[in-house]
Amino acid sequence: MTLRQITDHAGEWLRGVGPQSDTVISSRVRLARNLAGYPFVARASARQHHEVLDRCRAEVMGGRLGEGVLWVDLRESTPLDRQLLVERHLISRQHAGAGGALPRAVAIGADETFAIMVNEEDHLRIQSLRSGMQLDEAFNHVNRIDDLLEDRMEFAFSKRFGYLTACPTNVGTGIRVSVMMHLPALKLTGEIEKVRRAARDMHLAIRGLFGEGSEAMGDLYQVSNQTTLGKPEQEILSEFKHTVVPQIIAYEQQARRALLKQRQAQVDDKVWRAWATLTHAHVIDTEEVLAMLSHLRMGVNMGRIDTVDITTINELFLLAQPAHLQKLIGAEMDPTTRREARAKLIRQRLGQR
């Protein structure tokens, strides 16, 4: 597999087919691990960085994690490729940028359901990403990879603090469970603030998926655990499966019903204007695309429009982003040219000229 082959379609996690996929876009579980007997990444020497990288490469690419694993050495990749990997959630922004010369890499599973960052903040960040609500599948996958790696490598661990990580906020299980949710009705009704407050009380983090600040573009929110010490993996997963996610879903559904009952004309107006914009615009920036796609997605899920399917919409969330767009067109473009190319791509994918 090469990077080029993954560009023109969305990853498994964006297929939009998993359980509860009208609100839950994807499920992600990540484990942080460090090789025993080495300093953490920020404190290691260049020689140690290389040694860790080589050892991890040998284990990860040795065939035990399956065939067709793609190894991307991030020092040798172009900024555009790194941006592409960020947009696909296969590496973090930090890993893409990280002081150019730091020896670091990512291993990507054949179907993109797993990715392993090497020499990010920790020596290893093992993640699995699935579409819809599939936390158990994602956890079982990373747990299996962790077991396989642990057969051959020793991870820094203490009985008191568990798996030792560079940042004490990850120590213990080293687990980060995240669910990406589409919450347009909570956003439109302003109820999202209540969800934020409730999440904070439960020691959860809520972040917008795109963009830096707290404002969530495309009404996509990522809900993750913050506690990693003193709480077993299964307990965190169970909270997400039985409390956190069902409650947020119920709240979003309630807001959708209220909107339909009290503001049906306005809802339809938003949905159809989104359709009109996306199918007729000739110049459009990412932010507007995300906002319009969000309304369109809500419209499809609420049965207000049937001119397009969810898979196409999910794909556009990804393909409209700068790196994907440029890869698809096959040329680097300045922002102005990108806005035109983006509008054209969207018109085509939505069946218009």
Partner: protein
Amino acid sequence: MAGLKRKCDQCDKPATHHSVEIVKGQKIEKHLCEEHAIQEGLAIKAVQTPINKLLTNFVKQQSLPSPQPEWVCDQCGMTFTEFREHSLLGCPECYRAFEEPLAPLLERAHEGETQHLGKVPHRVGEGEQRQQHLLRMRKRLEEAVACEDYELAARLRDDIQRLEGQGQVR
């Protein structure tokens, strides 16, 4: 200043929250009213602020009057002050070296917990001591390479390999 009620830096209300931060050697005093203190404080920002940043702020506030002696990790040489600047520890041993000053921070980050529960590696046991030993030998290896003592480096490599071999036994 004695007796004079100080005003908030950002409005005319009396300041109820006072803090001093040292940023790059510069002393920065802050005097804020309740409302502006909350705006600047942790309570409100908790949700949007990345946890790392939150931690930095938290540790800085915690350490305001810091007459204690400096904590240092023997293994990697990191000081607790350095950790406060970057919120990243230097090596696994840092957890032992900074156990005392880290405790309140861990409690805050993890709902009051300071004892691991959950997955344990298969080969845990005598492991902790060996891990510490490995770390020490790798440090000596770095030093040997740095001063071009290749004979010592080679010997250390052999020792490290042997020690790691022991870890493979289940």
